[in-house]
């Protein structure tokens, strides 16, 4: 199967030589540029490729999105779309009461917002809890730590669609879990027609899929805590839970902030995982705001780019606010 070692070695060497030659080739014009710009302004050169891609495929689309959001109709090119001013936003915000999504003209958007909030809150709390417990356990003196670490991590590598498919297959009416329940003498539970269960499993599956990543971040933090602190605590006969509370948690705080922030971002962005699992149902109990935007732009028979764009601008502003909050938080902890 694998080619002989000598062959692999020589292939690697040729590749190495090739890359080295390529880099030297690039170095030549780069030196020229450096002479022209000076050392410090080389930063712009290094930033340039990323900036080009970023402007073309992120920044420009964001601006087009804003343009979309003030136009209406079914045409695709912004130049062919009639200007409607704040019409899409007004439609989106046409509510009797903002506390009751059902009272809004476009109730699906607001139900999506409410569900996303609920989902994200519970998911972040549970995610932190479970990855913390797992990290602490993995940090104990146990055999086969590498193996267990890999076990918890590997779902991170599965695509959201695959994750959802796996669990859907287990949770459906005639799935493995219901087979287990009936074998134990229980009744089948139809998880996906009960709003509470559907949300529970959406959160559960999301934690299943991602907790490995957060566990590793926390584990890195735990291992960086100086051991003599615990030694001293043990000398003083401090109870373990107290040592955890007084030593572990404060020193782990920076890592916890990273975990909370990343989980928060991902929670708000959740779409395909939950969509494949529950289809947003029952009713609209697990309809997420990103799913709403996607469906409004693509799946609905009239592809309503204007309304979808308006919703995404609103979401974008909220996300930007969250990011600023994150910046503030990270400033505080580094200060």
């Amino acid at each position: 199967m694998t080619p002989p070692l000598s062959l692999r070695r020589s292939a690697a060497r040729w590749l190495g030589l090739f890359v080295a030659a390529l880099m030297r080739l690039i170095d030549w014009p780069m030196r020229g540029l450096q002479r022209l710009l000076g050392e410090r302004r080389m930063a712009y050169v290094f930033l340039l490729p990323n900036l080009v891609f970023f402007s073309l495929f992120v920044f420009l689309p964001l601006i087009i999105n804003v343009v979309f959001s003030v136009t209406g109709g079914a045409a695709l090119f912004p130049s062919e779309r009639p200007y409607v001013g704040g019409g899409q936003y007004a439609y989106l915000f046409d509510c009797d009461s903002f506390l009751d999504p059902g009272s809004c003209r476009e109730d699906h958007f607001w139900r999506g917002v409410a569900n996303t909030l609920r989902f994200t809150t519970f998911q972040v709390v549970a995610m932190v809890l479970f990855s913390l417990v797992t990290a602490v356990v993995l940090n104990m003196r146990i055999r086969g730590r590498g193996f267990f670490r890999a076990v918890y991590f590997f779902p991170v590598l599965l695509s959201p669609v695959v994750v959802a498919l796996i669990w859907k297959w287990i949770l459906q009416r005639d799935g493995l879990l219901n087979a287990g329940l009936t074998a134990l003498g229980g009744q089948k539970i139809l998880f996906f027609i009960d709003p509470g269960w559907a949300m529970f499993w959406a959160i559960f599956v999301s934690i299943w899929a991602h907790m490995g990543f957060y566990t590793l971040i926390l584990l890195a933090g735990l291992q960086a805590i100086p051991a003599d602190l615990y030694e001293a605590a043990e000398m003083d006969a401090t109870p373990r839970w107290r040592a955890f509370w007084r030593i572990t948690l404060p020193l782990l705080w920076p890592n916890l902030v990273v975990v909370i922030v990343l989980a928060l971002i991902r929670g708000v962005q959740t779409f395909d995982e939950v969509f494949v699992l529950t289809g947003g149902g029952p009713g609209t109990a697990t309809l997420m705001v990103v799913q709403y935007i996607y469906e409004t732009a693509f799946s609905n028979q009239v592809q309503n780019f204007g309304l979808a764009a308006a919703a995404s601008v609103v979401l974008g502003i909220v996300l930007f606010g969250l990011t600023l909050a994150q910046l503030a938080a990270s400033r505080r902890r580094s200060a």
Binding site: L47, L62, N65, L158, W208, N255, A309
Partner: protein, 350 residues
């Protein structure tokens, strides 16, 4: 290393089992079942026949009904275990079913016929892998073409992602320059924007660039990822500045410093980004579906989903093809597992 050794030492004296140890091992054992079980179940299910998938309660292993050739019948007949009127059970082959009565024969003695009510018989089954779930769709589609496209997209996109993001991270971590804060704000500000919500505008850009139905339409848009810049920059900030200053003294060009010094040192962070890029590119579905309509540029994820019709999901194919696309990922993980997990743990997420 030393630190780890000391960590181990601070624990309780060895040889004694504390209740926390037992709790920890039970927790981990449960974790193994919970994490591996579902995937194992997927793999087992993918080898079941279409009928086998519909069974309740589901059988653990892929089973299918046994069939035998019986003299006088051109087709193989399905075997059942039937309960006769006198209460005894016999293995019989079913000739046909009329309404709620099955007409059955003894496979050894085809002349002997039985009429059995259908609720008095159960199928005789044997272990059998339904490999046709895999072979049929793979034969129907240009599998090697799709695989080639997917590999091309994944490899090229990952290389470009690594290159341009590491360059940007290098600029943002090593230099002080005008506009640095604006650039940082842009990176962080877009960290949270999911691509799903700007799908239509990006499609317009791709159309204007004339890239529809080209693999580059899939490769380019995601190449500059804020997450990648962020991750790499955080790591590069921890690199010792003296090294860079020393290199400058030695008249190394900025490009050489980036390439010969910073890149090798940033290997762990690069590895993490590479893994995430590979996973993401390999699994991407919505965006390629929007820009790639021609068969010759389809990637695996699109090609293997072509059997998803309007009105039915063919679970047996769906599960099998899911496992088929999962296999390369699993292989990567098995070989690079240690590298990945320690890589993430070391990326300086502090």
């Amino acid at each position: 290393m030393n630190r780890v050794a000391r960590l181990l030492l601070v624990r309780r004296k060895s040889g004694r089992w504390h209740w926390t140890d037992i709790a920890a091992y039970s927790y981990l054992a449960l974790g193994v079942v919970l994490m591996f079980g579902p995937v194992l179940w997927l793999v087992l299910s993918s080898f079941k026949t279409q009928a086998g998938l519909l069974e309740f309660p589901p059988s653990l292993l892929p089973m299918s009904q046994r069939e035998v050739m019986v003299q006088g019948f051109p087709q193989p007949l399905p075997l059942f275990s039937a309960t006769l009127d006198d209460g005894s059970t016999r293995v019989l082959a079913q000739v046909r079913r009329i309404g709620i009565v099955a007409q059955m024969v003894d496979p050894e003695n085809p002349a002997q016929q039985f009429r059995i009510p259908i609720d008095k018989r159960t199928p005789v089954r044997e272990f059998k892998l339904a490999t046709e779930n895999y072979t049929e769709p793979l034969e129907r589609f240009a599998f090697t073409r799709f695989l080639g496209n997917s590999v091309f997209v994944t490899v090229v996109a990952t290389l470009i992602t690594l290159l341009i993001n590491s360059m940007a991270a290098y600029a943002l971590s090593i230099y002080e320059f005008k506009g640095k804060n604006a650039a940082m704000l842009m990176v962080v500000g877009t960290l949270m924007i999911p691509i799903t919500i700007i799908l239509v505008p990006v499609y317009l850009v791709i159309t204007k660039l004339g890239l529809v139905n080209s693999l580059w339409a899939v490769i380019l848009p995601g190449a500059a990822t804020p997450t990648g810049v962020f991750l790499l920059r955080q790591y590069m900030l921890t690199l010792p500045r003296d090294l860079i200053e020393a290199a400058r003294m030695d008249k190394a060009s900025e490009w050489q410093i980036y390439w010969r010094i910073v890149m090798p040192l940033a290997m762990p962070a690069l590895a993490v980004l590479a893994i995430f890029s590979i996973m993401w590119r390999w699994n991407e579905f919505l965006w390629p579906l929007a820009v790639l309509t021609k068969t010759e540029v389809h990637t695996l994820q699109i090609g293997l989903n072509a059997f998803q019709g309007e009105l039915q999901t063919q679970w047996h194919y769906l599960l099998a093809m899911t496992v088929a696309t999962l296999a390369p990922v699993a292989l990567v993980f098995v070989f690079l597992q240690r590298f990945i997990t320690t890589g993430i743990a070391n990326t300086g997420m502090k």
